[in-house]
């Protein structure tokens, strides 16, 4: 019988970031189907593999792993349990007959909010605050820069990374200071991809009367009137689909790359930021989105060559 399980990453299912997005998807699935999903939040490296095999032992028929950190573990466990279905988010480089991989084109979404930022900025200076200096975060930054530059070539993007220890993802105070630092240097729109640290960025922008941009899930509500928009990474969709497909017997292995075209990436427009997004900003974003989906604009993905053209 059908038994779904999800294993969140270190950040925990309330990381104000993509784990939380997955959790939203899981909730939606449970609400619709009434099927309980087994959950576990890992606290150290070794637990990843352990959690997965324990899930299998406890009869899980489909296991969803969240984050590239679980790649090794899932590859192993999937290999050992060919008759169990596995799915993982933010991974595209594995290969197993019973493993589905979701890769997101964060750079495309970041490009769009970059466009929005550059248009909203009155100083032609926008900012980016990342958690740790790792390729994934660089990809966010790089897409953002490309978007901003596409609006005006001389738009300047100030960039900061928070730290090098795990605390870098949970340090709102530092996040606020980094944002403040960028504001001091003239930035008036700041995009953050730093988990809990981002909360501080949003707060600082609000306190300074500037704008911030949310990430992963829709964070517009966190500071209505100050959060310009949020770059949506629909991991909730990934989570939901994983379980839904498995339930309906349509589970397929292989890599599913979700970008703008696939609706896996997007930007948030709701009552909280409706009056911040002017019509021409909206128009510009939509235009850019159209070009990206049509392939007219190819947003460079930092991860392909670990460099950013700009």
């Amino acid at each position: 019988d059908f038994k779904p399980a999800v294993i969140y990453d270190m950040g925990g299912k309330f990381d104000k970031s993509f784990n939380e997005g997955v959790w939203a998807g899981v909730k939606k699935f449970t609400e619709e189907t009434g099927v309980e999903v087994m959950e576990f939040e890992v606290t150290n490296e070794a637990q990843r593999e352990q959690a997965m095999s324990r899930m299998v032992q406890r009869g899980a028929t489909v296991v969803l792993g969240v984050g590239f950190g679980q790649a090794d573990a899932i590859a192993k466990v999937a290999g050992e349990n060919p008759d169990v279905q596995f799915s993982i988010i933010d991974v595209s480089w594995l290969d197993a007959p019973n493993l589905r991989q979701y890769a997101f084109k964060e750079h495309e979404g970041s490009y769009l909010v970059g466009v929005a930022a550059a248009l909203k900025s009155s100083s032609a200076k926008v900012g980016f605050v990342g958690g740790m200096d790792i390729p994934l975060i660089r990809a966010f930054a790089c897409g953002y820069v490309q978007g901003a530059k596409s609006v005006s070539a001389d738009a300047e993007v100030l960039q900061n990374m928070t730290g090098t220890t795990p605390a870098a993802w949970n340090d709102p105070a530092k996040g606020a200071e980094l944002a403040q630092g960028q504001i001091d240097r003239g930035a008036d729109v700041i995009y953050q991809a730093a988990g809990g640290t981002g909360v501080g960025v949003i707060q600082a922008a609000k306190d300074a009367g500037k704008f911030s941009i949310g990430v992963d899930s829709n964070q517009n509500h966190m500071a209505p009137g100050s959060v310009l928009t949020s770059m949506l990474k629909r991991v909730d969709v990934a989570a939901y689909n994983t379980f839904k497909d498995a339930m309906d017997g349509n589970f397929t292995a292989g890599v599913q790359t979700l970008g703008l075209a696939e609706g896996g990436i997007g930007w948030a427009l709701d009552e909280h930021n409706a009056d911040l997004i002017t019509d021409d900003i909206k128009a510009a974003i939509d235009a850019a989105a159209a070009k990206i989906t049509s392939g007219e604009i190819a947003v460079h993905d930092y991860r392909t060559d670990n460099t950013c053209p700009m």
């Binding site: 925990g12 070794a46 593999e49 590239f68």
Partner: protein, 372 residues
Amino acid sequence: MSNTPPLPRWADLILLPVINLFVALAICGVIIAVIGENPFQAFGVMIKGAFIYPESLGYTLYYTTNFIFTGLAVATAFHAMMFNIGGEGQAYVGGLGAAFAAFLVGPFAPWFITLPLCILGAAAFGAFWAMVPGYLQAKRGSHIVITTIMFNFLAASLMVWLLAGPMMLQGQQSPQTAIFDTSAHLPKMSEIFAIFGVKIAKSPLNISFLLAIVALGIFYVLIWKTRLGYEIRTVGKNPEAAHYAGINVARTIIIAMAISGAFAGLMATNEVLGVHNRVILNFTAGYGFTGIAVALMGRNHPIGIFLASLLFGVLYQGGAELDFEFKSITREMVLLIQGMIILFSGALAYMFNPPLARFLVRIGLVKGVQDA
């Protein structure tokens, strides 16, 4: 409590800790009951999760291994009155040492050459990372606590830079190195047993556990049986007297720190050589800090350190099972329980000493006052 008679060794080393643990568990039981779960059931799960399930014991001992190494690191420095908070960073850098050896030698040499070099690399890098603060303390008077804290941050920066940059495996996204050649893999216990036809559940537990046991022995001999150990303890207890005795205090401190760092570095043999077979971002996961509690709860003695490590191993593994089995018990709940146990069987270890002593006297197990 000057006029309570001293406890006999057995009571001090066994009975008292048992009582403490019992009280600690009782407290946790209350907490668990408060959140509406059945404490006894919960402890059952914890024990089962730590010892009974097929692979559970393996995981417990795997954690124990880490704590033994980091605990020994803290204890060694402590005998020289150096408070080494840098185990985290030393273990982290130790991983780097293992990796260098693995990548430089691994591809060409057989395991019996590669592995020793990797283990040596881990110890050497860890030793270096602790020796510098040791030197600064001994020669420049920079306080060891600050410098070791700083060196933890430095290690973190260095490793992120390497793992997300030069040493990162291409074609994937996690900040980690490539997998080592098999010649640099420490065999898993399950594999070893398999050779002898014994089948045990797969778990991260690997040879480095035995290495840890050996390390405990080495530590004991070093501290209490060698002349260097004698000098280390003398410097720790009374540097003036050490100077009087012709012991080079600065040199002894530096050596002690180096050994301490080496033990910390060896933690990487478990994580890097034994489990992941590659260096992963933040593989130390706080084991270095926990080592402080382990060493002090183990009273800086190998047996104590082993028991404390085992206790923490059980807490980690059994705790994970708790989290697993009960929806209402989150990982924070587990953290809380760990805190309570450290508080009651660590910090409050002597709370029941006087009453116990008086009790033992009353029931005549211990002889009371006699003439000077």
